[in-house]
Amino acid sequence: MQKNGPLALLFHGLVVAFVLAPLVIICLVAFTPENTLSLPTGGVSLRWFKAVFAHPDFVASFWNSIWLATLSATLAVAFAVPAGLAISRFTFAGRDALNALFLSPLIIPHLVLGVAFLRLFALVGATGSFSWLVATHIVIVTPYVLRLVLAALSGLDRSAEQAALTLGASSWTTFRRITAPMILPGITGGWLLAFINSFDELTMSIFVTAPATVTLPVRMYMYATESIDPMMAAVSALMIALTAAAMLVLDRAFGLDKILVGQR
């Protein structure tokens, strides 16, 4: 493999600077002691972080988003694992259609899903319901889990399963004792990816959340369109920190490139 020349490295440096610039500026401005969005040149202050935790709306939205992401990621696993087994282990009429249906939320723009869910909510009277919000997030995050489960299942050596079956284990026992532990990394990676995607989702959620169920990104969007003060930077910095922590866990455990780029 050839080395990169100085020109290539310069280009690379510019790209990296471009990618990191908005994130770095947020983390810097979050520590400003001033009342306006400015770099903390005259000293560092935590006042805007305190302001976030004293703001009841942001705190409520944060916990709402955490619960929403936890529930929808967990239920997405409950849908994706059996669906993944059916798709990878059986050949049956309608298998491709089933696969396409489960993965379709990746192709349908979130804007369109938001509009469609809003119509459904209006007709069944679900506006403002947290359970229905969870249902919409399950739809959006299940494909991420399914993809990783399918990848884990296809890379599996099946002789261990066959041995268990030959030795008289029931198919449920075989799944519980052999298959599940072997695809556990895929499931955990999928759960975390689903959690992050649910936690970050804005475009669909903004259509279907009611004042009582506003998620953190929706709250931030509303706040940023009305007023701009360093509190927004502090919330954003907290979100970056949270995402970075999740990213490190994902990377240490599975390799982030594998999860985001897909199995090779």
Binding site: Q2, L101, H110, L111, T225, S236, I240, G262
Partner: protein, 287 residues
């Protein structure tokens, strides 16, 4: 749960059935309802009527106001795609030629922001591009007059490129991983210049990855919401912010639904065209 692949049974439907029902009810049904909604008559005084009409679709494709927004959406998405390809392809190539640990670290830096909420990134850019932002301060520092960036199409394109770049780098990177580095070396030893080797050997092999990256970026940019919402301001609307306004400010749901359906159909057509293209290519390669 686990059975021989040859066994013909109802097990797959027992396994996937509940999920399939849930997905059908949560995707196909709401989409069908939205299509129906887009044909309903709307009256500003009394709301949605029981009668059906094509007028929303006609309004969208004839009215200057909506056409202007659609053109802006296409223009911004095309610009974003082009810039992403111009930056993303060389960057993926440079990444692929790096050695570990740098390669892993920088791959993480480039694709990691994918996991940071798009609201956060849009907010970061609004600080950088604002009239008192870092970009303008830097311009003034070198003696140039400040430029108005925030609430322009330029700002939207810059921030969209930032959000979409990972979607371009990932498929090109994947294609480069499959490329044998010795093939490029062989081209050099046979007397090809670096540029020729790149153009004739590397580029054709990653072109499919690049194409899929372009389609993903274009589709996502054309339906992006947070970036035009926060960086375009009230007046500079794109398709997604227009739908949002029709739904939540104008309360004209049928018109909003019609625009959303147009966005969906355009997206699906692009995907179909891509699949067709990949299939023809695969067939040609197999002979």
């Amino acid at each position: 749960m686990i059975s021989r692949p040859s066994s013909r049974s109802s097990s797959p439907w027992l396994l996937a059935g509940p999920g399939a029902l849930f997905f059908a009810g949560m995707i196909l049904l709401p989409l069908a309802l939205t299509v129906i909604l887009s044909f309903r008559v709307y009256d500003h005084a009394t709301g949605i009527k029981d009668a059906y009409t094509l007028s929303h679709y006609i309004a969208v494709v004839t009215d200057e106001y909506y056409l202007g927004i659609f053109w802006r959406t296409l223009r911004v998405a095309a610009m974003t795609t082009l810039i992403c390809a111009v930056i993303g392809a060389p960057e993926a190539y440079i990444l692929a030629r790096m050695r570990n640990p740098w390669r892993s670290i920088f791959l993480l830096v480039i694709i990691g922001p994918l996991l940071v909420s798009v609201v956060v990134r849009a907010f970061g850019w609004s600080m950088l591009l604002g009239s008192q932002g870092l970009v303008n301060q830097a311009l003034q520092l070198v003696g140039l007059s400040p430029v108005r960036l925030l609430y322009t199409e330029t700002a939207i394109v810059i921030a969209l490129v930032h959000v979409m770049l990972p979607f371009m780098v990932i498929p090109i990177w994947t294609a480069l991983q499959k490329l044998d580095p010795m093939v490029e070396a062989a081209a050099w030893s046979l007397g090809a210049s670096r540029f020729t080797a790149l153009r004739r050997v590397v580029l054709p092999q990653v072109s499919l990855g690049m194409l899929s990256g372009c389609l993903i970026v274009f589709g996502l940019s054309a339906s992006a919401f947070a970036i035009p919402g926060l960086l375009g301001g009230r007046r500079l609307k794109m398709a997604a912010t227009l739908v949002y306004d029709e739904y939540l400010h104008e309360l004209n749901w049928p018109l909003g639904a019609a625009i959303a359906i147009i966005v969906l159909v355009a997206n699906l057509l692009i995907m179909l065209a891509y699949n067709r293209m990949v299939e023809t290519r695969a067939r040609r390669m197999l002979g």
